[in-house]
Amino acid sequence: MSGRFKPAVKTYTRPVTGTWWKENPFFLVYMAREATALFVFIYALVLLSGVISLALGQSTYEAWQALLTTKTSLVFHLVLLGLLAYHTYTWFKVMPKTTPQIDVAPQTIVKTGVLFTAGLSVVIVAVLFGVTR
């Protein structure tokens, strides 16, 4: 950045390597948060494929539904669920950094967020179960 202070005439600049994130466990956790976002995208594609198959007609939609009940699909969904749950948690973990200056302990903000989401998920699953059975 230019400005009224002028840099030293002769310096040595160390290069930033592509492996900077491997050098500190804190950065590994950060990268895990960023990387699990990819699986949110993948799950969005799964849902999108459902919408497209619905648009293509009943038989395609039934085939898609059948595909979902295969063992491979169930395992895939379980893995996705785990990764998405972790990704969700990481965002609650940083939530205290985004609030205004309030008099609430950071851990309370995180716990409230996680509990609220878990509770809401149970309610949604219960309602869906009731509607679809």
């Binding site: 230019s2 840099p7 500190n24 950060y30 950094k97």
Partner: protein, 255 residues
């Protein structure tokens, strides 16, 4: 348990860079005697006084207040006066100059980039109107002071910049301490400088360059929490973009 007065010896690898020769930096190993209360800074001073007078490093207060002794200790940005050799012994210790800054000589880095960024955030009170001294101080309540107090504790040690991968990857990023200080003044009830600072805050190199790694707040020796300052201002920046902040201030919310 080792007695507090017992003298032990630790090996310290220090990154050396000599601008006169211009050769790339290399590590030099020193054997340093230390006791229970020997800080890393005192270890460096031992090297300079007894082993190698050519070693260059910065320090002043020796009590975590001046912010000049920051170094990478085993890869972690820390104040060398606030870190103790006993915690590393019997292993070796590696000391590098603060990450992401150009090296002037050995452990002394060039802070010019930060100084210009600090300058750019107008780190001083911009009151609504100047009043003569005779009218006394600008008053505020303890509650109002709480809004900015921790951000005002910054000692410009730059550990947060060395901790920030985004600053390493994009050096034009205004960075943690400067943005925390920007917020320190914006959050002050006596200050009306929001619009004067908004260009820096709202720009791509302002709060939006931050991806909330959060390591800046971890390493800060003064609990300034720059990540909190930056990320609450992403909300403010968005409100500003949609004109909500202006609206709120006209109806008397905020300041």
């Amino acid at each position: 348990m080792t007695a507090e007065t017992e003298t032990r010896t630790i090996e310290i690898d220090v990154l050396r860079y000599d601008p006169d020769s211009g050769a790339p930096p290399r590590y030099q190993t020193y054997k340093v005697p230390f006791q229970h209360d020997t800080s890393v800074l005192v270890g460096l001073q031992y090297i300079k006084d007894h082993l190698d007078g050519t070693l260059t490093f910065r320090w002043s207060c020796r009590m975590a207040i001046c912010g000049s002794c920051g170094t990478m200790i085993n890869g972690i940005p820390q104040l060398s006066c606030h870190t103790f050799l006993r915690d590393y012994w019997p292993k070796k210790l590696r000391i590098d100059p603060l990450e992401h800054f150009p090296i002037i000589k050995d452990l002394a880095i060039d802070q010019t980039d930060f100084l210009n960024k600090l300058d750019s955030v107008k780190p001083y009170l911009i009151p609504k109107q100047d009043k003569p001294l005779s009218e006394g101080a600008y008053l505020q309540t303890p509650k109002q002071m709480e809004q900015y107090y921790n951000y005002s504790q910054c000692i410009n040690c730059l550990l947060c910049y060395a901790a920030c991968p985004q600053y390493g990857l994009t050096p034009t990023f205004t960075g943690p301490a400067a943005l925390a200080l920007l917020h320190r003044y914006n959050a002050d009830s006596r200050d009306v400088g929001w619009s004067a600072r908004s260009d820096v805050l709202n720009s791509e190199d302002g709060v939006w360059r931050c991806t909330l790694v959060g390591y800046c707040s971890e390493v800060c020796p003064k609990n300034v929490d720059p990540a909190h300052a930056i990320n609450q201002n992403k909300v403010n920046s968005t409100l500003d973009y949609f004109g909500v902040l202006k609206l709120l201030s006209t109806v008397g919310f905020g300041k």
